[in-house]
């Protein structure tokens, strides 16, 4: 995986502050043949090197998104692997994990390989999550071993949770034998069924069928119990309620192999956004009240939540022009995630980068410890997956100007702080001065 890139042979990132898991220092970064060659103050620029200016910027390991819907195969009118990867690069991501809820679902080694092949031609590393059950139907186990052989480390029926506790227990046992990780979209269908937003004061007033917080929490609790019983490993996707954060906090303090992610919209938007019935605010799990938003932020701050993941979910405009309860749930996220974190989270930038880069890289095993080239640290010999961020630049989100094929960003018109200036993928400058290069 960590081979050299196809970009210019020599790249100089000049004048920035390097931040990675090891700390922070003012340094230039010299890249040669896809790898970092030197990290030091005032490096001489070799003749013929491509120079990326990083004055006033931070130079960090490329971001890693654990949760991206690339919609290919089956929904190419909404997104493709190529357009999604382009959005990822513009958002500072050098790796994304493609979710398996495509049409058909990614539930076989062949389907995995098809997406990996498409991903190999793009501007980011595209890893693939495989389905836990055949067709994501929740009825019988998909060939996890065959998919693991093809490189899958993370399995999920995302879009839905595995409803049967018995089947989930078998999945835990089987995955343990393979050394792979299960990831759950926690939503109990019998509680959430038919709901289109968070059940509470707003859903009651608006007359929209609701999904109670408990629909998420009972499945988090169930899977923690199963992880305990099977000594299994579980990653919780897009936690959205205070109760879920508490359950994960306790499971971690009990020493269970539990990790969790949160999506930017769950720490920036509340269910009050739904008041105008605009389906751009429909998402699963749904936007929650402020107390839950605060709990997610607290979970990010205290380490309960390990990663910020976008849940980038493109839907073509005509699908989002439907009545609220008929429009498909999901929001764009790749190009706004970093800026939202920098704007809304009161945390040191290194902690935010941990949530966006090296911690998710470790969860999906794309980090150097597992033989991958994602998540840094930025040191001689490491694969040059880098992101250069201007942490104080502001910009205003224009959904029509995003690289995605779709426009369903709920952040249109918002002015955010922090902007990706350059992105380097395996030594190739794929984004230069906020413009994607291919």
């Amino acid at each position: 995986m960590a081979d050299s890139g196809s970009g210019p042979a020599v790249l100089m990132i000049r004048g920035g502050t390097v931040i990675d898991a090891t700390g922070e220092r003012t340094a230039d970064v010299l890249v040669r043949q896809g790898r970092v060659e030197a990290v030091d103050a005032d490096l001489a620029t070799p003749r013929g090197a491509t120079v990326l200016e990083a004055d006033g910027c931070v130079v960090v390991p490329g971001l890693v998104d654990l949760h991206t819907h690339l919609r290919q195969p089956g929904r190419e009118e909404s997104e493709t692997v190529e357009t999604g990867a382009r959005a990822a690069s513009l958002g500072g991501f050098t790796a994304v994990v493609a979710m398996p809820n495509t049409e058909p679902a990614i539930d076989s080694a062949e389907a995995v390989r098809n997406v990996l092949e498409l991903g190999a031609k793009t501007t980011a590393e595209v890893a693939v999550a495989g389905a836990i059950t055949v067709g994501r139907n929740g009825e019988r186990l998909a060939p996890l071993g065959e998919m693991a052989e093809a490189g899958v480390t993370l399995f999920t029926d995302d879009g839905a949770g595995v409803q049967s506790a018995g089947l989930m227990r078998r999945a835990f046992e089987y995955a343990g034998g393979l050394g792979v990780t299960l990831a759950q979209h926690c939503e109990d269908g019998s509680l959430a069924g038919g709901g289109a937003m968070h059940e509470g004061a707003w859903s009651s007033r608006l007359g929209i069928p609701g999904m109670p917080a408990e629909a998420e929490e009972v499945m988090v609790a169930r899977d923690i119990a199963l992880a305990r019983a099977t000594r299994g490993r579980i990653h919780f996707l897009h936690l959205s309620t205070a109760g879920s954060v508490d359950l994960v906090r306790r499971a971690k303090s009990d020493g269970l192999a539990v990790t969790a992610e949160a999506a930017p919209h769950h720490f920036t938007l509340t269910d009050a956004c739904t008041a105008g019935y605009d389906p751009v605010f429909r998402v699963n799990p749904p936007l929650r009240p402020q107390a839950d938003v605060d709990a997610v932020k607290a979970g990010l701050a205290d380490g309960t939540i390990d990663a910020i993941a976008t849940d980038h979910a493109p839907h073509a405009p005509e699908l989002k022009d439907l009545p609220f309860d008929q429009a498909p749930p999901g929001m764009l996220g790749l190009q706004t995630a970093l800026s939202l974190a920098l704007t809304e989270l009161d945390m040191p930038i290194q902690r935010i980068l941990a949530l966006l880069s090296w911690q998710p890289a470790a969860i999906v095993r794309l980090d150097p410890a597992h033989g991958g080239g994602q998540g840094g640290p930025i040191e001689p010999g490491s694969v040059a997956n880098l992101c250069v961020i201007d942490p104080v630049a502001t910009w205003t989100v224009d959904p029509a100007a995003l690289a995605s094929r779709s426009r369903n960003s709920p952040f249109g018109g918002r002015t955010l702080r922090g902007r990706v200036r350059h992105t380097v993928f395996r030594g190739e400058p794929v984004v230069v001065d906020t413009e994607v290069q291919r």
């Binding site: 059940e199 509470g200 009651s204 007359g207 019935y277 439907l322 009545p323 609220f324 309860d325 008929q326």
Partner: protein
């Protein structure tokens, strides 16, 4: 007094003054309805479209009758027989209808919020919500107020009696757009609203609702109520998931003959229709003089004339001056 709104999407669009204005204008249109030739030229040259994505013969007929009595041209757009079936989006449908040149669009839809979305898309026509999902049905609430005011003595006398009036709304409030509109409307005029329902048929949250009390004992509430407003038990939700059976519902929450005897002498009974006799109301109770179900239907036309007039009439007067 604040100006009458551009659209009528929810009872929240009207304050107490706005409600009173509708009721007073409806008085004069009710008089029109009693004439041998119940037709006035008020909206001549204006075009009103009904856009019903959900079946409702009663409400549609009421609106169309109201528009025709005011000499408006009426376009009747049934979603089932239109290009919607061919996959046309809601937005395209609305923009097409507006391009034909209409002044008001009256919308009913099974999804909450559709009239509000449509109001955001149109440029120059008024949007009237004729019922959206579980959300709102404002003209139903207005005609209920009108009917109650009539029963309380009519005019300013009737209006004054809303202050402190004890209104019980009984039945499936959770899934009811009528209840959501009624509660706001009654409370705006100073009435004390009590909800009576099995706990499963209440909304998940009543936070911010102008409700005086919530009860599960209908007998106790009936003894003091001035107005009993029943809601239809929607058969599709009538058993299994929300209540064990219709029989059990009727035993606990139906207005049976025995219960009707508990009512105060001057109490009135309302129901938005269609009624399911023997479930939420006994057949004999529906025939009592206290049951104003027929009055509600005839008042509905006058109320809808008033709403159309207040939304469109101003421009019409100006047009008449310059035309």
């Amino acid at each position: 007094m604040s100006p009458f709104p551009t659209h009528l999407l929810s009872m929240d669009d009207l304050d107490a003054d706005g409600i009173i204005e509708v009721l007073e204008v409806a008085d004069s249109f009710a008089e029109v309805g009693r004439r041998a030739n119940p037709k006035v030229p008020t909206l001549r040259g204006r075009t009103v479209a009904t856009l019903f994505f959900e079946d409702s013969t009663r409400t549609r007929m009421s609106f169309e009758t109201a528009a025709k009595r005011m000499s408006a041209d009426v376009l009747s757009f049934a979603a089932g027989s239109s290009s919607v079936k061919k996959g046309e989006s809601l937005r395209d449908t609305v923009e097409t209808i507006e391009a034909i040149g209409i002044d008001a669009v009256i919308i009913r839809h099974a999804s909450s919020g559709v009239p509000a979305r449509v109001a955001g898309w149109v440029d120059h026509c008024s949007v009237i919500n004729a019922g959206d999902g579980w959300h709102q049905h404002p003209t139903q609430a207005l005609l209920d107020l009108y009917t109650v005011r009539q029963a309380l003595g009519g005019g300013d006398v009737g209006l004054a009696r809303f202050e402190g009036l004890r209104v019980a709304i009984v039945g499936d409030i959770r899934h009811s757009r009528v209840a959501r509109s009624q509660i706001t409307a009654y409370a705006a005029l100073g009435a004390e609203v009590t909800l009576v329902a099995p706990a499963t048929l209440l909304p998940p949250s009543l936070e911010g609702w102008p409700v005086a009390a919530v009860g599960h004992d209908l007998d106790a509430v009936l003894a003091t109520a001035d107005v009993v407003s029943l809601l239809r038990v929607q058969q599709e939700r009538g058993s299994g998931e929300f209540v064990p059976s219709l029989r059990e519902y009727t035993a606990g929450f139906g207005l049976t003959v025995r219960r009707a005897a508990l009512l105060r002498k001057d109490a009135v009974i309302l129901h938005p229709g269609p009624i399911v006799r023997g479930v939420e109301i006994a057949s004999d109770v529906a025939e009592l003089p206290a049951a104003l179900i027929t009055e509600q239907v005839s008042n509905g036309v006058a109320i809808r004339m008033a709403v159309l007039f207040l939304l469109l009439g101003q421009a019409t007067r100006e047009g008449a001056l310059h035309g």
